[in-house]
Subunit: 154 residues, 2 copies
Amino acid sequence: MSKLPEMLTIGQVAERSGVPHTALRFYEDRGLIASVRTAGNQRRYLRSVLRRLAFIRTAQRVGLTLEDVRDALAQLPDNRTPTKSDWERLSRSWKSELDARIDALYRLRDRLTGCIGCGCLSLRSCALQNIDDEQASHGPGAPKLKPVGEGGTD
Amino acid sequence: MSKLPEMLTIGQVAERSGVPHTALRFYEDRGLIASVRTAGNQRRYLRSVLRRLAFIRTAQRVGLTLEDVRDALAQLPDNRTPTKSDWERLSRSWKSELDARIDALYRLRDRLTGCIGCGCLSLRSCALQNIDDEQASHGPGAPKLKPVGEGGTD
DNA sequence: TCTTGACCTCCAGCATGGTCGAGGTTGAAG
DNA sequence: CTTCAACCTCGACCATGCTGGAGGTCAAGA
């Protein structure tokens, strides 16, 4: 009990999480995970880091940047094990992120579907050209495309 | 008619498409768009490049890489104006890409939703930890996370 | 004690998707 | 013909998200 039996080495964390040790150091550097050091300066991790890593990897699948994830994880307490409601809060905000992305994809797909067979080769009428036409009502002469800007509440 | 009246300068394309001229040269470099040169080595674009740019920008919103887009656009004829059916083919293949992505997001969201209130702090039961459990049936001791790998038919 | 593998730091490099600036040319208006 | 914005190339640089190597240290087994 006095020997911190639950601490994991970086190798163990890498193996159990599937995240390369290089990425683990990288994440630590970016403030996404934390470790304590042994007297010999080696990293030791709490088991809870595995949960954080799962969270990080899943978040990346959703398309969030590491910075997004870091900000999200910053809501979790560093000094105590996160409670269920801590995670609930995060999960809920994630869910809306997902909802927003799904929604955006839907809108894109629907435009595209409408585009098939719409004779869409006219610059003035093709939905693809006027992807943002909900807010924009620019004249038909020179449609401006919005810069891409992936990320955020699109 | 003999002076190619429909050709656009890079500045005009940049303005009309909203794509910076730096990006236009970048896209050309990567083989996504093409130009012809004047006697003085300046780029001149066909109007159809605006359509390609719209396509490119939209594709990026969906999360496709420039390489994906280049491959898709490679299906279009370089030497003639794309016909409706050329675009239809592209649009259709895009649509399934979108469908796949929407589907993936749905599955993620559903897991997450299930996670809220599931008491998900158990490494063994949390859907987040076992995000890939359809194919994986690893023992409960050391769940491996899949590397992220964004892109492809996920 | 020796050996060996796991660990450490730091730094360079890769891929993607660009931007920016230097230094030089073009082309159209006046 | 002059002028000057717009164009050209090339190479450096930025951010993100990592990987890999060099060179050195730590720790546990034989």
